[in-house]
């Protein structure tokens, strides 16, 4: 007899109709958006404040280096003494005073640059200033050696190595970043899902024991069907909640930015601006082009399909481990000792993904970890953007699903034996013994 659909239905609807579930589903996005809106609003307040930096340059080397930008104005105080300048800056309540004292030669400037301010200045401001000064001094020095500014401009070369595989597939540096981001996002999403909904599955498995209905249920259905039904039903409830969160979040985000006129995506702090300016970031258009290129270089169809399968597979496997914990204990307080060992392989997978796969996507370590079921959902997803033969993906997926089924069977086995031992906290040794019953 197949009761699976019936069990899934019950599990799903009891979860979805639960009051705290409904409250959390609709309250969480509200809280999140409210939080983001507050942060955005505050930083916008901050943005509207312009800062003024006064410059007293006694050397004259740094003429015209500092150009006003959106949030930062520079005032030239040349001709004043340092004391007067400081008094003036204090009076004007400027952000600070950049002081370059008189030196004998260009080489001595290094030790003669000071910054005076009321509070200690932010790191990004200082490093921004430093970089601008360095650049000018370098140019000056070259000029002294007889190199003209035009020559310097002309000598600036930007190399971007065009990468191409033997098959003629083109790629670029930014590809790696995109690949890393993709794998990382997949891993992070899986991590989050497991942490949020793993517990729910565990509680759901304990439910029959705390309500003492277990013997009635177990004399009607096979434990493996019950486990499977619980995992699938609870997961569906989780997905429902997640989808509602995403939709509600998007709508709320839209509404909030429409009403308050806060463009959440484009909040740029003065610090960021300073850094960008200093780094003289390469043309944003080129960047965007590269990015689009990089994304289109990814094996997209393969990625999307693999993501779906590995995400689902990985989620099911970890859920079934949570179910096994639920099956082994009588109440929630006994679950603590089992939690850490479950999350550890997942963390390991993320580390392997970040540190090994990016360096050597087809090396031994990456390959092995992309087959081990507990780590494969993250590691394989990170490897796929670098091109993985289909048979490897298929094999890894089969291993993943097989271990899921095994884990459910294992959970069901523990469950069946566990009911004969009410009120006793099991040890790992006992769990192992139960398998043999």
């Amino acid at each position: 007899m197949n009761h699976l659909p019936l069990i899934i239905k019950r599990e799903y609807f009891t979860k979805v109709k639960n009051k705290s579930f409904i409250v959390m589903t609709f309250l969480s996005p509200l809280i999140m958006i409210a939080l983001i809106a507050v942060v955005a609003y505050l930083s916008q307040l901050n943005n509207e404040k312009e800062r003024t930096i006064s410059v007293l340059d006694e050397t004259g080397y740094l003429k015209d280096v500092f150009i006003d930008s959106e949030h930062t104005n520079y005032t030239n105080l040349n001709g004043l003494s340092l004391e007067d300048a400081i008094v003036l800056v204090k009076e004007k309540e400027d952000y600070g005073l950049l002081y370059i004292s008189k030196t004998n030669s260009l080489d001595d400037v290094t030790g003669h640059v000071n910054f005076y301010s009321e509070d200690s200045p932010s790191l990004s401001v200082i490093s921004g200033l430093e970089r601008q000064i360095e650049k000018r001094l370098k140019e000056k020095k070259l000029e002294l050696d007889g190199v003209s500014l035009a020559q310097i401009e002309a000598s600036q070369i930007n190399i971007d190595i065009a990468q191409e595989s033997f098959d003629g597939e083109k790629s670029s540096k930014i590809d790696n970043v995109v690949k890393l981001a993709f794998g990382g996002a997949a891993g992070y999403l899986l991590f989050m899902f497991i942490i949020i909904y793993g517990n729910m599955i565990m509680r759901s498995v304990i439910e029959e024991k705390t309500s003492r209905i277990i013997e009635v249920i177990i004399s009607s259905v096979k434990p493996i069907q019950l486990m499977m039904g619980k995992i699938i039903g609870t997961s569906l409830a989780g997905i429902t909640q997640f989808v509602i969160w995403v939709i509600l979040g998007a709508v709320l985000m839209f509404v909030v930015s429409a009403i308050f006129g806060i463009d959440l995506a484009q909040v740029q702090s003065p610090q960021q601006e300073m850094v960008n300016q200093a780094m003289q970031a390469s043309d944003p258009q080129v960047m965007a082009e590269n990015l689009i290129n990089a994304i289109s270089n990814l094996p997209l169809a393969n990625l999307v399909i693999a993501f779906l399968f590995f995400f689902i597979g990985g989620y099911l496997l970890y859920s079934s481990l949570y179910a096994a914990i639920g099956a082994a204990v009588d109440n929630e307080t006994d679950t603590q000792q089992f939690m850490l060992p479950i999350l550890m392989p997942l963390m390991l997978a993320v580390y392997v993904g970040v540190f090994t796969v990016i360096e050597d996507p087809h090396g031994t370590v990456s390959t092995v970890f992309s087959f081990i079921p507990l780590t494969s959902p993250v590691v394989m997803l990170m490897r796929i953007p670098f091109g993985v033969p289909l048979w490897q993906q298929a094999l890894s997926l089969v291993l993943l699903l097989a271990s899921f089924v095994f884990a459910v069977w294992f959970a069901a086995k523990i469950y069946r034996v566990g009911i004969l031992m009410y009120g006793k906290k099991p040890t790992y040794k006992e769990l192992f013994k139960w398998l043999k019953y």
């Binding site: 009891t14 439910e207 309500s211 003492r212 209905i213 009635v216 069946r416 013994k433």
Partner: protein, 309 residues
């Protein structure tokens, strides 16, 4: 094939503990079979094996002549001693769910539930949550769920615990009615008075072994000691007493009676018939009370368990 359920030398161990040792029982069709035994004797293990919650290590169980298999859960209704329902589920939904797990369709389940809810006059509970009901009320729901799919075999483990006397009687009558309609009932309990009232057959399990089984009346016959409770009146008490003691084994008796001078338990041997005793007594005195002492289920239980210590 008169036995609905047959267990053939079923054994089950948990680690080094032997919960059942070569236990065989045969439950006749249409009977109420009392499965008795002290706490921890192995009754629940046997019941769980019949329900396929655990598997026996050795031995086999046949239901209607067939070895137990998955589909048999439809033919069995089980009310466990450890019982409960989903607390936050509504009564009606829950009954429908559990009935469907036992193989009923939704409409079948609805019709039958309506019948039972009307019968027990609890129609207005349909939309209540289990946690809003009292323990006894929840037990009623549990009873309905157990019998709803009209199983051939009903297994009740301490069915009356948690019921007040009125509801216990109600449930007892329902059980008897189900038996009359053809169901076979296995009934596990410590309450010997309900065994006396309900059971046709009994089996007694003690320390993992079956120590007694058969028709309750046969067992009682087997356990009777040919003892008679006698109340006599005589003018010459001392003399009559001596004469009786001379001829029979006499024990003191404690039954209640109005005005008997002499109250005795008299044991006769196999060769003597009750009539012989009676005519002897009438010749000596006036007989007011003459009853054969029949062992109660409780007596048999205690005696058997003590003998097997």
């Amino acid at each position: 094939m008169n036995d609905l359920l047959v267990a053939n030398s079923v054994s089950k161990s948990f680690g080094s503990f032997k919960a059942l040792n070569e236990v065989s029982i045969a439950v006749p069709k249409g009977s109420i079979f009392g499965l008795l035994g002290p706490n921890g004797a192995g009754k629940t293990t046997l019941i769980r094996i019949i329900n396929q919650i655990t598997m026996p290590d050795t031995g086999s169980v046949l239901l209607d002549g067939q070895p137990l298999k998955g589909d048999h859960v439809r033919d069995i209704g089980y009310l466990p001693e450890e019982r409960g329902l989903y607390k936050s589920m509504k009564v009606g939904e829950q009954c429908l769910y559990l009935a469907q797990l036992k193989g009923l369709t939704k409409t079948e389940a609805k019709d039958r539930l309506k019948y039972w809810f009307d019968k027990l006059e609890i129609g207005d509970w349909w939309n209540k949550k289990i946690q809003e009901l009292s323990k006894g009320q929840a037990q009623k729901i549990q009873f309905i769920v157990t019998v709803l799919h009209q199983p051939k075999l009903l297994i009740f483990d301490e069915p009356f615990s948690g019921f007040d006397p009125i509801n216990a009687n109600l449930i007892k009558d329902e059980i008897l009615q189900l038996r009359d309609e053809g169901a076979t009932v296995i009934f596990s309990t410590h309450r010997m008075e309900s065994v006396e009232e309900l059971c046709d057959h009994i089996a007694l399990i003690h320390k993992s072994n079956k120590v007694l089984d058969g028709k309750l009346n046969d067992i009682k016959r087997q356990y009777k000691t040919n003892t008679f409770e006698v109340g006599l009146e005589s003018l010459n008490k001392e003399k009559v007493l001596l004469e009786i003691q001379d001829k029979f084994e006499v024990l003191p008796a404690t039954f209640k009676n109005l005005n008997d001078d002499i109250k005795l338990n008299i044991k006769i041997n196999e060769q003597t018939s009750p009539n012989d005793l009676l005519s002897f007594l009438t010749s000596k005195s006036e007989v007011h009370h003459f009853v054969e002492v029949i062992p109660s289920a409780s007596d048999i239980f205690i005696q058997t368990v003590n003998n097997n210590q």
